[in-house]
């Protein structure tokens, strides 16, 4: 992708001692020396306008004995990214933390530490985030092998040719599981890990005057087994009276190392796996992934496929927002009546997905260069009816049903406020960012697919509270309907090709890197892939919006009452399948 011309020449001249262009074939951006990273990052943010750090991740280049940290920074006013990388030796990978410049790097750096073992110097809280404290090793390193290890990549020989076996028989509990020295799983008590956790939270917030008054802060543990957490998620809240003074999200209960699985998979096998990230929005997940790989392959899907993708992605947005609003009301205590009204519409849309893709939720619909099959005629008729008649009516009804309700207002107005500055700095995305008054939408900021053809407005609300995060979802559904109407009108006739080239299960992906991002219903969903030209990705990273939006949870919660935590969490709209990956 082209770099903005002004910044490029300027940057290179100014930082010539720490900056070199990345000249590897298929790569872009710059390589920054670790010692110059902070000065460079500060200048980028303050002088060049790259104030939005979208993605931070690491790559293990085992053959070169090198770890690389990859940053994607954007201007909040739109445009392409500035990609820069830091390379450090593999045996001692230490990189300065950019959290002081972009606080949104917090969780992402912790993730890179957790999974790749890259240490970020100056990070305020560099603990594991997805794995548990007793875990030994960093699983995304290329020389790390999982229990039940079967091979570097699929297809696994012994599974397709040997006799059938049960996997648990093949590798009983202990095999290939490493523990830290001196660690015994049978005598270990989880309290120690929890104590470290609690103490780190309390220490952070203890004030000297409290010691004098003999008043104490209370640590309250919400979750992980709590229905309001939308899965298995835990919030450790420190309270002063009833007011939250600090909050620490704990996650990873659903972690399965999606990225390691993805690196063992062939390129095409990853498409059904992306369905299982955020299982409410499988179509969008497919879209992001195929977009990244298509960038590497230089593939352009035919027109009809482009429209079908947009239609599916926008329907997914409606599905997701219906769901999010319904469950936000559950969190508020309006148990299931609003949720059921919302789910009814979702069911009808899922019927369309089922007809087109074969499955209601795990769609596996998109392919490199197009989509797997055309939408059947009966589903198309249903789609037209829904978009032109039923959905607008039902969205209005939902609006009438909820928006002016006094109880909702008094529970949501002014609760969980996130200022625009915070929202940008904390790298939030999607409805969370836009409800804070920042009109940033990837569909506009850096249009992908055919989004530049549609006439729609980027919904934006300005208070940054829970109420606005509810309203913005209603606004966005209406905008999605606008896009859908135009797509239905302009789509090429049935019979036009829906796939570039022939269906292939072994695709050739030229070596290089690519970052594909879409505006998923929950925010910017990005896929960073690195290919070495082989049958499977060398690196496969997901920039998960639910996960990164949680970085802002503490900022939203501080100063609010503990009773509002549940609805603040609900207003971010997370899905743990994506958070924990």
């Amino acid at each position: 992708m082209a770099q903005p011309a002004v910044a490029a020449s300027d940057l290179e001249a100014r930082f010539s001692d720490i900056l070199t262009p990345d000249t590897r074939k298929g790569y872009e951006g710059y390589i920054v020396k670790p010692e110059g990273l902070l000065a460079f990052a500060k200048a980028l943010r303050d002088e060049y306008g790259y104030d939005y750090l979208s993605s931070v991740t690491g790559v293990d280049y085992l053959p070169n004995d090198m770890m690389e940290v990859v940053y994607h920074a954007y201007k909040i006013t739109g445009g392409p990214p500035l990609v820069f990388k830091v390379q450090v030796p593999r045996d001692n990978p230490v990189v300065p933390s950019v959290t002081s410049i972009w606080p949104g790097a917090d969780f992402q750096e912790r993730e890179a530490w957790d999974l790749l073992g890259i240490r970020f110097e100056g990070h305020p809280n560099l603990r594991r985030i997805l794995l548990w404290e007793g875990f030994w090793g960093h699983p995304l390193r290329k020389d790390w092998r999982e229990p039940y290890y079967e091979g570097e990549h699929k297809p696994f020989k012994q599974r397709t040719s040997g006799p059938h076996f049960w996997h648990e028989d093949h590798s009983p509990f202990g095999k290939n599981v490493d523990y830290p020295p001196g660690f015994d799983p049978y005598t270990w008590e989880p309290e120690t890990a929890d104590q470290i956790l609690y103490e780190s939270v309390v220490q952070r917030t203890r004030k000297p005057e409290q010691e004098e008054l003999h008043s104490e802060q209370v640590v309250v543990n919400l979750g992980p087994q709590h229905p309001s957490t939308h899965g298995v998620f835990r919030m450790i809240a420190t309270l002063d009276g009833e007011t939250v003074v600090a909050l620490e999200p704990v996650m990873g209960y659903l972690h399965r190392n999606h990225e390691k699985i993805g690196e063992r998979n062939t390129w095409i096998m990853n498409i059904p796996y992306t369905d299982r990230l955020d299982y409410i929005t499988a179509m969008s997940n497919n879209f992001g992934y195929v977009l990244a790989v298509e960038k590497l392959m230089g593939l352009e899907p035919p027109e009809r496929a482009q429209y079908l993708r947009v239609i599916m992605a926008e329907l997914t947005r409606i599905v997701n927002h219906m769901w999010a609003i319904g469950f936000l009301l559950n969190d508020l205590g309006a148990f299931f009546t609003p949720a059921l009204y919302a789910i009814e519409e979702r069911e009808l849309i899922l019927d369309i997905f089922e007809a087109a893709s074969g499955s209601r939720m795990m769609n596996n619909y998109m392919r490199f260069g197009g989509v797997v099959r055309d939408i059947p005629e009966d589903a198309w008729d249903m789609l037209v009816k829904l978009v032109t008649d039923r959905l607008p009516r039902k969205i209005d009804e939902l609006d009438r049903f909820l928006t002016h309700n006094e109880i909702i207002k008094s529970r949501c107005l002014g609760v969980g406020v996130l200022t625009p500055e915070q929202a940008i700095a904390l790298s939030t995305a999607g409805p969370v960012l836009r409800a804070s008054g920042v009109p940033y939408d990837v569909r506009r900021a850096e249009p992908y697919g055919i989004y530049d053809r549609f006439d729609f407005e980027v919904a934006v609300r300005y208070h940054g509270d829970v109420y606005d995060r509810y309203l913005i979802r209603i606004d966005e559904m209406r905008q999605s309907l606008r896009i859908l109407e135009q797509a239905i009108r302009d789509i090429p006739e049935r019979g036009a090709p829906i796939l570039a080239g022939k269906p292939q299960y072994q695709v050739r992906v030229p070596a290089g890197e690519a970052y594909g991002r879409v505006e998923g219903p929950k925010g910017e969903l990005g896929f960073y892939v690195v290919s070495t030209g082989k049958a499977n990705p060398w690196r496969y990273h997901v920039r998960a919006p639910s996960f990164i939006n949680l970085t802002a949870l503490e900022a939203m919660s501080i100063g609010n009452k503990v009773a509002d935590l549940v609805v603040i969490l609900g207003s971010i709209d997370i899905v743990l399948g994506e958070v924990d990956r």
Binding site: Y273, E354, D389, E397
Partner: protein
């Protein structure tokens, strides 16, 4: 804050509540009939839309996919002509790596032939992605509609070839469009082949 918003909301609930009963009056076959199920999953539905499984069943779209099965054609003498040629593509493409195939051997020569002797799918692992069926060059493995596969013992969840085989007529019944389309494709291919042969002969 005078409670007007709440009343407005309650009116919506009341409307939904009444709509169900009005619908019950208007439509005789609203429940326990195919027509009723169809109506309740159509964009026209008002009021309650729940489908009372298992007494009622959703009408699955023909593209619906669940655990795959293997197709055999019924031969003239009642024998089963298994379409699968044991080419192994499905086993290679399967993301969960659940398919295991053993090639049959010619009983006289002992050489492997292009038929499966054994064919297993470990349904504890199958993720119903449909990639196997999508890339099978012989239209031999097809995604099923039968989703009620609960068993008591775990080993029963590994489907062997006997469990997997279904006649082509079943395939035609659940997926008429796809069946017809694939049959037409095969026919066109065969015709083209014959034409080429014919052309070669006249040369």
């Amino acid at each position: 804050m005078d409670g007007r918003g709440i009343l407005q909301g309650l009116a919506v609930t009341l409307k939904h509540f009444i709509a169900s009963y009005v619908d019950d009056f208007k439509r005789k076959n609203r429940y326990f009939s195919e027509e009723g199920v169809k109506y309740r999953s159509s964009p026209e539905v008002e009021g309650i839309f729940t489908i009372q499984y298992p007494e009622e069943r959703r009408i699955l779209h023909e593209n619906f996919r669940y655990i795959p099965f293997l197709v055999y054609d019924e031969g003239e003498e009642g024998q089963r002509d298994i379409r699968c040629t044991a080419c192994g593509i499905c086993a290679k493409v399967c993301p969960a790596q659940t398919i295991w195939i053993v090639r049959a051997k010619d009983p006289n020569t002992g050489r492997p032939v292009s038929k499966p002797a054994e064919f297993y799918i470990d349904t504890t692992l199958c993720m119903n992605c449909g990639l196997c069926a999508e890339f099978c060059p012989f239209d031999a493995i097809i995604m099923d509609h039968d989703f009620e596969i609960a068993v008591y013992d775990k080993p029963d969840m590994v489907f062997d070839i006997e469990r997997l085989l279904r006649p082509a007529s079943y395939y035609q019944q659940i997926r008429p469009t796809q069946y017809a389309q694939k049959a037409a494709e095969r026919e066109a291919k065969a015709k083209a082949k014959a034409a080429r042969r014919g052309a070669a002969r006249t040369k």
